[in-house]
Symmetry: D2
């Protein structure tokens, strides 16, 4: 069985697991006070070209979103996100669990539009009874989005400008940041991302680590007593080294970007294979998640050899499914898919 199910099907990138093994018997203090966390933070700050950025490590994506959003919002505020955003749709209410509303904007292949954002805010403040409503206090977007799409530089600059005009921090969920950055169509560097937003996270879980996300506060805006707030949310890892060593490895010799580039190469190949067989794309995704429409019959046959994800029903006979590449995708796996599609579509 060959799996294109997600970008978290394998363990860690070999260089990451190697470093975990090498450092395994060293003694270090807990809760992120070890030297690897320190070193990883320095390397990340260097990679984004921002000396005074503040970096903190957390374990997973939903956890990171909930911690960042709930510690940065004020009591009367909620977070704006696409209706299809991860925080809106796929976190089982983790944001609401912290007592804050997700204010949903229309999503266009996963992205929000600057126009909608302005309208929302203007309508809010234009409403005479807005003191009885949840104030927009932050904007959440993901890069790439849940649909694999990317904001262009122009789009991100516009959203950033709007956020700052209305004094709202912009938070970028980078669970798959490495793949977005290394995408051919992308015109943004990690440094641009850092400058345009107020806080973002560099996804580890989906980009080579066993677990871990690196939150970067880029405007000297890390919430006071952040460690205590993290502990209060059950999100403080005792052996912080597990995160430190991994991110230290990922940001040594540009491994993080190399992983991204590799997976993007695999994704390009995957797209070519689907195109060559005339498979319909559900969305024009430029990154490592590809959404295609297959007949239920085709799906049934493919499932004998390949794992991939159900995305949504298209009609009675067709379904949208997702194929994902990552650092662990092998070239031969794509060859195998190509061969099976040959049979299936002829």
């Amino acid at each position: 069985m060959i799996s294109f199910e997600s970008d978290y099907i394998a363990g860690a990138h070999p260089k990451v697991i190697e470093r975990l093994t090498e450092t395994n018997l060293e003694s270090h203090s807990g809760y992120g006070s070890d030297k690897y966390c320190e070193s990883a933070k320095e390397k990340i700050k260097k990679a984004i070209g921002m000396d005074d950025a503040e970096v903190e490590f957390l374990v997973g994506g939903t956890q990171t979103n909930a911690v960042v959003i709930s510690t940065m919002l004020q009591d009367h505020q909620g977070v704006i996100a696409a209706k299809t955003g991860h925080v809106s749709a796929h976190e089982a209410g983790a944001i609401e669990y912290t007592g804050h509303k997700v204010l949903e904007l229309p999503g266009y292949e996963g992205k929000i539009h600057g126009d909608d954002l302005i309208s929302f805010i203007e309508n809010f403040y234009g409403d005479e009874s807005h003191d009885h409503m949840v104030f927009p206090g932050m904007v959440y977007i993901s890069f790439p989005t849940e649909y694999g799409t990317l904001y262009s530089r122009t789009e991100l600059e516009e959203i950033s400008r709007i956020c700052h005009k209305y004094n709202m921090p912009l938070f970028i969920d980078g669970a798959r940041l490495g793949y977005g950055l290394m995408c051919r169509q992308n015109d943004l560097t990690i440094s641009d991302i850092a400058k345009l937003c107020d806080v973002f996270y560099i996804g580890g879980t989906k980009v080579g680590a066993l677990c871990g996300e690196a939150v970067v506060f880029t405007k000297n805006n890390k919430p006071a007593h952040f460690l205590t707030s993290v502990k209060k949310r059950g999100a403080l890892l005792a052996k912080g080294r597990l995160l430190g060593v991994q991110f230290d490895a990922l940001f040594t010799d540009d491994l993080y970007f190399e992983i991204g580039r590799y997976a993007m190469d695999m994704a390009e190949r995957l797209k070519e294979i689907f195109s060559a067989h005339g498979v319909e794309f559900f969305i024009e995704s430029p990154t490592n998640q590809q959404f295609v429409v297959l007949s239920n019959n085709q799906i049934e046959k493919l499932r004998k050899d390949f794992a991939f994800s159900f995305w949504e029903k298209k009609d009675e006979d067709h379904t949208v499914v997702r194929f994902v590449t990552s650092w662990s995708t092998k070239s031969e796996e794509l060859d195998a898919l190509d061969r099976v599609l040959d049979v299936l579509f002829n």
Copy 2:
């Protein structure tokens, strides 16, 4: 200044304040254990024709929605409501504050459609990853809605059927129930409401009381230890008699319904006045809230003598405003409005 601003501009209906005065010096135990609470509960159960209904009194509408929803939902569930529903839009995030998401459906002049409800639920359960999503656990509607509209018997029966098919309680916010019930177009009795839903509340604040809402659990489904949960939410009134005496008065000699009927008569007259002057209605509302479109210039002039509410901007030159009648609206106030419109529109 004559006010059509809302249905909570005056104190209590004269018969209600009279009873508060008459009983004022009596000694009663606190927290709803007094004889007036008891008597009011009995009268309400009689009015709805349901001997085993369980009635509890709370102070205000948002509080009631938050208490009912958060005590009836399970941890993994959220509440379905129209995007324009009070719990979605006008409670400052009170439901999310309890840790639960409001799952928003399209609102059609304030109402949800059965079709959308079915689609939402079917899509939810059809999604293979729905364990990572908020489960639909309850449906919230209001009668009348925030736009003054009403569900017909057919519509309510359909929603009720869908809710029960999927094991979700149906909660009806009756902040303005008295006005809805007494509306000419309405084809539902309070007894029908009680049977079709699982829990509803009879609004007092907007229908003759100084404050107070009567929650009715109609399926032997009052959450265990409800009083403690109410206390925990800061919603338990020490002098419960304040609520008991008022609802006892409201449900004596059909006062509650009489209030509703009177306000509806005033609303009919209000509509005629607007129609006679060619004023555009924003929505065809059958109840005591009327939404009309006026030019900003007209609004400016009207505001010298009348109070009414901003609803939303229509275009640069026009605004939607709301006029509301209630038990406290006087016939002469409508005469005065009629006269001023004569001048304004000629």
Copy 3:
């Protein structure tokens, strides 16, 4: 049946209910924007001699404690209180419901000691792992306490000094403030209270109102967007006038203090009656709550004519019970108690 059960057994003081009736048919905007709220705020500020105090009205005591504490604490903080404090023991976990811990100090007849407070804080900051603990972020005391006792000027000044040394606001729960202020042994004015603390509330429910508490922020420290936070907690009253009119009446011609003085006279008389019959006092309470030890047999007999509260079991044969006076206690009711005790103890 004569009731000494609590200070919330009757409705409102006659002058308060009278004002509610007189103003009943006036039209006013909602949510505390009416002229009576305005006027009441001015009168309260004058009474405490603090022009720039910020006053807000809420409905009940537990609600007020939860709103004030949760809007003033930061995420990593908890509130220090006596183990016997209302927020610790008798609010069904309302503070914890807001996500904050109550840090309990020993209570001495309801009061905390400055020494314990200092030790607690010093131990906290002396602990190298205190980032894993709840930070002390506020001190809550009540005046009078749940046991009827009062802090002396010296005691309150000490606690105030400690709080400010460690940058913690001091919050005084004045649910029964009127009775404490008018107590003979009390050496603090309402103005002293206001100066020594950072926020306190003037209890209405137990001191002449149907409901209502007036929160006073005394250091220009009202939380931003307080109205929205109040709404979010389901604590915003639509007909704010209900609170405004009542507090306006209570702070007209010193009614609030007159009520306090009267209840204290009744309490003095009550103490004399118990003393004269050799009844043992459980606590030397100087205010309107009196705790006495009676045999279970005596209690059974007294309960035929009098209502009073169970407090706690003393031993197999004796129980501590509470008798409370208020503005509604009548002199003849004390005469009746005196007569029955004559019989009971002879």
Copy 4:
């Protein structure tokens, strides 16, 4: 520098890290649906001799406590724990963050007494106003406790009996379970633990894993929709295999118990070394955490070569410090300590 600072200073036990490496490139589905999670669950159920136990994996201790407690308590309930318990004192308010109070009992070297537990419950239900209080809904203890002490079989049976008499689940925090079980003085097996409680967790983080705790529900009482509740709390690990592989390794060939035994041998040796030098023990701890009293001068000197934890100040000149052994403690490290103490104490 030799560290006795804690039992989480090293990475994973060599056999655990080895298995992570071996399985690293395998493809597995996420969120705990992989075969290693399955296998680990089976091995754990076998180890405790309970076929129908339900096992779930979480990442860390505070997270586990918050998830278990908040999903098992009802709305009106809190959890009873020692005042010194981890949930009371060292989780930054993580339990309160879920909206539930920790009801604190006196701790005796970390343990609660059955007598206090009964008194607490009896007083609660004996209080006529207990509906205004937090109901005791669960009992939390740790084995070993935060002070390294253990409940004997007799003690645990008593607590278990009390819990079940009052219908409260008993929850045992086994963050250091392996050390407690393998302690010479211990008279309980893991199977006894499972039977006497309703839910417990087998600590991985401190007993050989990089991270991870295995929650065991022993009475068919796993909360419904547990995975969704875990996700909602940000506690669901994408690569669940990370936990599955580790626990699978720990429960292969009794590794978990072997680790415990080894650390206990080291602890025995540590105690002998301290005893031989006349060092005062703060507590008679039978497990891998040893608390000793040293002069500040001695501490300063020791800190040149050894890391250990501050526990609490004893007096101006003395401090209680904690030395901890684990699977990673080396015999030579104890030799080195022995030698330095020889010098220090002569």
